[in-house]
């Protein structure tokens, strides 16, 4: 059968199944388990209402538990084991020891740290700039939607787009990559292989993600700028503040909270970045990052132990943000 047909059937079965589950389980609860009649009617209603939230939550909890919570512990366990002659053996931290002994790991760590600093900073800065510039413009909404557009493009699609920009033809031939064309027009002597210049090539990869994420930052920061009380700005103007002073001393401090949110959200995206590196350099020329290193270990070297160890390192890097978010939500809920 054609997969597309299977997909449609799945949608039907999935949605129908969900509706059926919620509907039936509620009926069973209200009429069979705790019927709202007879001598215990009152007590039964209370009981039914204690159980009901869990009926509503059950499918989601199973899915979350199985697909997100369980794998964290399973990966931790896998990272402490190694496949020895077909059987899993507990090896303690041996996988981690092997991981830190590899030069590629440290290269990935260095690059990931670079990514973690440059991309959130770049995307937030460009986003803030775009938000401020378009704030009072007549065609601001149009400009915003164009800057926002890369958000819809896949990382792989974006990689193809930027590979064309970084394309290099031998010296003497007409350049078809716009970066080299501009570089030569500005007086550069020979066309550069941008993606093969160690260290700096990382920045050319980061440009892709900044390009994608700036729109996200812009949308959030733009809403934050709009919510700044107008009086604070008027007061500053009356006190003789210039436009730059207003921006940096009045507006930015007031939206600092939102800037932090944008920054952390992009940080999480950066930690998971994989597609761009895989599609553009595949970690060659010193551009490896943790997520692609992990993929290499899992699916090219088939080394589940070390791969899981790398995954745990990514988890560890996400941990502070996770704790911070949970802490904030707990505070908000009280």
């Amino acid at each position: 059968m054609n997969p597309a047909v299977v997909a449609l059937v799945t949608v039907g079965v999935g949605v129908g199944g969900c509706i059926l589950y919620f509907w039936l389980s509620n009926i069973v609860l209200d009429t069979l388990v705790f019927p709202a009649r007879g001598p215990n009617a009152g007590r039964n209603i209370t009981r039914a209402n204690t159980v009901r939230p869990w009926l509503f939550l059950l499918p989601a909890m199973i899915a979350l538990g199985l697909y997100l919570a369980y794998p964290v512990f399973a990966t931790l366990w896998l990272s402490l084991n190694r496949d020895v002659g077909g059987t899993q053996q507990f090896v303690g931290l041996a996988n981690y020891a092997q991981m830190v002994s590899e030069a590629k790991f440290w290269e990935s760590m260095r690059n990931n740290m670079l990514w973690l600093i440059v991309v959130p900073a770049g995307a937030t800065a460009f986003g803030l700039l775009a938000a401020q510039l378009t704030d009072r413009l007549k065609w601001g909404a149009f400009a915003k939607s164009l800057i926002f557009m890369p958000m819809a493009i896949s990382f792989v699609g974006a990689s193809v787009i930027w590979k064309l920009i970084y394309d290099t033809r031998p010296a003497g031939q007409e350049q078809i990559g716009i970066l080299n064309a501009v570089y030569l027009a500005l007086g550069g002597d020979t066309p550069q292989q941008w993606l093969q210049i160690p260290f700096w090539n990382n920045f050319f990869l980061m440009a892709v993600l900044i390009w994608i994420q700036a729109g996200f930052a812009m949308v959030i920061l733009s809403a934050a700028l709009r919510s700044i009380p107008e009086e604070t700005i008027e007061a500053a103007i009356l006190d003789g503040a210039g436009p730059f002073q207003i921006f940096f001393k009045i507006k930015v401090p007031q939206i600092m909270g939102t800037i932090v949110v944008v920054w952390t959200t992009i940080t999480i995206t950066v930690l998971k970045v994989f597609d761009i590196v895989l599609a553009m350099t595949n970690g060659q020329w010193e551009t490896q990052v943790l997520a692609n290193f992990m993929y290499d270990k899992f699916f090219r070297a088939f080394d589940v132990g070390v791969g899981s160890a790398v995954a745990m390192v990514i988890m560890l890097l996400v941990m502070p943000i996770l704790v911070w978010n949970v802490y904030n939500v707990r505070k908000e809920m009280r």
Partner: protein, 379 residues
């Protein structure tokens, strides 16, 4: 607030110009790829896409003389035109790779043994030989020619229907569709019920569950790959569509629950309490009141999830096979980057096919997307 006191017109101009520069900078990359997807491979590899609208003078790749010979006045003659389409003008030519611009159009080259070749400005050539050319290796012609701008849709028909690197983009497109649609719809319902419980039902441990959802929101899905693949293999799903639908459902749930709960909490309390007083069951309240009122949030999440599943590479690489009927667009594109890295007409067109649907969704539903983003970033 268009003219606040202190707003200078010079500054307004600076803002206008900076915005234009920023927008151009952001659109240019995609635009370049878009233009490239309508150019022929020869054009792409000989000139930048920004020159697509100009008549270009370029050195073309050598063209070997071909044609049927005719015996005329005791000599053997081959006549024809170097170019398939009209409009190209030769400005210089040669028969030797070291001197590709030695001759003017209309001049005649002596190739030795009495063989002569002349090429006119429009590409018409005449090769004359005293003996039959049947056993002769016909000469190559190097031309410097200016060709008019030309756009073609041929790239699109090529990538959509012919198998490049084993799989046609058309097939990959269908596969992506097969992944994305169920993976978008199924989590919505599951999440909506859970979000309602977390927003409006009182039960012990509710705050803890909300915190857990927020925590899971940032768990990198890299951690889930191997354990889940092993799990799928154990229960017999293996690498299949069912597996990837389940995986996307699981990975999408935290955001779905979080977004929907945030939205539902903001719904007016009166409506829900009134309904409760009137004797509506929780199930009825959910289906008849909450679900319709939450439409904007549901739409936001649906767009997110659709874009994410459509654009995803990692989950597809891990949970789907690489056969023709399973490989998705992004995976196909990565393959093309490896195997046809230099064929920009194919790469550009394939990439554009793969980003077309997300772009349409993006531009038509941007409103919901923005709303979702604003609700979804953890405050």
């Amino acid at each position: 607030m268009d003219n606040i006191a202190g707003q200078k017109s010079g500054l307004t101009w600076a803002v206008q110009i900076s915005t234009v520069i920023l927008v151009v900078l952001w659109v240019l990359p995609t635009f370049g790829l878009f233009v490239s997807s309508f150019r022929t491979g020869d054009q792409i590899s000989t000139s930048g896409w920004w020159k697509a609208l100009t008549t270009q003078e370029t050195q073309l790749s050598p063209i070997r003389i071909a044609g049927t010979e005719v015996e005329r006045d005791g000599a053997f003659v081959i006549e024809g035109n170097l170019f398939a389409s009209a409009g190209t003008t030769v400005s210089a030519w040669g028969t030797n790779s070291r001197e590709p611009t030695a001759l003017e159009p209309g001049e005649t080259a002596d190739l030795g043994d009495g063989v002569t070749l002349s090429v006119a400005a429009d590409g018409a050539f005449v090769l004359t030989s005293p003996t039959s050319t049947a056993d002769m290796r016909l000469p190559r012609v190097f031309t410097t020619a200016s060709s008019p701008p030309e756009f073609t849709l041929r790239n699109y028909s090529t990538v959509l229907f012919s198998p490049l690197a084993g799989q046609s983009i058309g097939q990959a497109f269908l596969n992506t569709m097969t992944v994305a649609i169920p993976a978008t719809i199924i989590p919505i319902l599951v999440a909506a019920f859970a979000a309602y419980a977390l927003a409006w039902m009182e039960f012990p441990g509710r705050a803890l569950l909300v915190a857990a959802v927020v925590g899971l929101l940032v768990v990198p899905l890299q951690l889930a790959l191997i354990p889940l693949l092993q799990f799928h293999n154990t229960i017999g799903i293996g690498k299949s569509y069912l597996g990837i639908w389940l995986a996307h459902t699981g990975f999408g749930l935290p955001l779905a629950i979080y977004l929907l709960r945030n939205y539902m909490v903001g719904l007016p309390r009166d409506i829900i309490e009134n309904a409760r007083v009137d004797g509506a069951t929780e199930f009825q309240i959910f289906v008849k009141i909450i679900l319709p009122l939450s439409f904007p949030a549901l739409a936001s999440f649906a767009i997110f999830q659709f874009l994410w599943t459509w654009n995803d590479l990692l989950v597809a690489l891990v949970f789907l096979g690489t056969s023709n009927d399973q490989q998705v667009l992004t995976a196909n594109l990565v393959n093309l980057l490896g195997s046809r890295g230099g064929d920009w007409e194919i790469l550009a067109t394939s990439a554009f096919v793969s980003i077309a649907v997300p772009l349409v969704v993006f531009f038509s539903m941007q409103r919901f997307l923005v709303r979702g983003l604003l609700a979804g970033s953890v405050k």
